[in-house]
Subunit: 239 residues, 2 copies
Amino acid sequence: MCETCGCQTIHHHTSHRRVVDVFEGLLDANNAQAEANRRHIEAMGAVAINMISGPGSGKTTLLEKTIDLLKTRLRIGVIEGDIETELDADRIRAKGVPVVQLTTGGACHLDAPLIHQGIHSLERQLNGRGLDLLFIENVGNLVCPATFDLGEHRRVVLVSVPEGSDKPTKYPKAFMSSHAFIITKKDVLPYFDFSLEKAEIEALKLNPKLSVISLSAFTGEGLDAWVSYLRSLENRGRP
Amino acid sequence: MCETCGCQTIHHHTSHRRVVDVFEGLLDANNAQAEANRRHIEAMGAVAINMISGPGSGKTTLLEKTIDLLKTRLRIGVIEGDIETELDADRIRAKGVPVVQLTTGGACHLDAPLIHQGIHSLERQLNGRGLDLLFIENVGNLVCPATFDLGEHRRVVLVSVPEGSDKPTKYPKAFMSSHAFIITKKDVLPYFDFSLEKAEIEALKLNPKLSVISLSAFTGEGLDAWVSYLRSLENRGRP
């Protein structure tokens, strides 16, 4: 009988332990590659931002607006992560900036080796031109991406108003490991039971150093604070 | 040099292959336990429904309304899956039905061994009373839960209107493996660029057998179709 849960079989715990061992090896390899990615991105003169959220929180829409606001002043590149499809890369490409689509083929998050390939693809598109900001849009998932350092300089977690203000408490790791917390779709606040104050307080309990910005990419409210945040990072990665 | 991606190291691919091997072993163990769970649930006379969605799509709210509508006619039990917190179980408990909270402690999905424990906890609460419907609310994640059979009889995937109608295309596995697709938060359609028709067509392309129901737990619109769907399952699991 299994001592952990009292059931008649122990196979799942044995398997689980093996997975944990192998997973830790994989994480070590990921973290080594992430450090290499970070140096690589810095050598390009850029700062990398890893954007994490659940599906449909508005990462791509925020990126589209950000590119509109900043592309004449900063050289922006984007790595798009999705399980399937080039839908998001097509939207970013329409904005006229270099973009690489990475599809994970089922996997629930980007990892540093994939980003390594993405950086090389992006460099081929840049063809010697420099880069100031590299946005990495992770797979829509508020859980797994929080575990994987990609080599970014800043991690940004997004929650949209329709998702509810209990999300920091329920998905703590994304908030504990991020630098900024962006509350999106602020324009629909009147239609949802969402408390900006509660979301901010709960997030800051998990991570007092979080920058918290609420905005609507649709109306433009709050985008000035987001742009200021990005501009404050601008020179950070330069060699 | 690595043959797969052309980089100088192969460690990540080696690690990845080991994870795939171990993961397949884990899945086999999960599936065996899932079959045992299914027989266990059927022996209780119940039908189990596994609810999958991203964070904040409205799984718990739909469950609250479903319990209000059905609890005088059917004996309902709930297993709540979350990474952390008892928030969702507290909401269900307030409705006066037996509920078990499973916290995964970081893991991004429920698995069959955890559900096995959950069933035993639920049976202790039932203390000999029967059960007609067992709802299993998975962790808020549209990716990983799609891979894990829990022993359910029906899998239901939810997408809320604010998330966008491109979600079936971007997260295909959840739709391919489900029996029903519920579009939630229909009352906010006027405020979002969401096409019910597109979402339905894309989902049915992936899985022509899906039952598609759009509803608002807030206004009650569409709940009749959802209740009919549940009542059609009612006698399925009885021995």
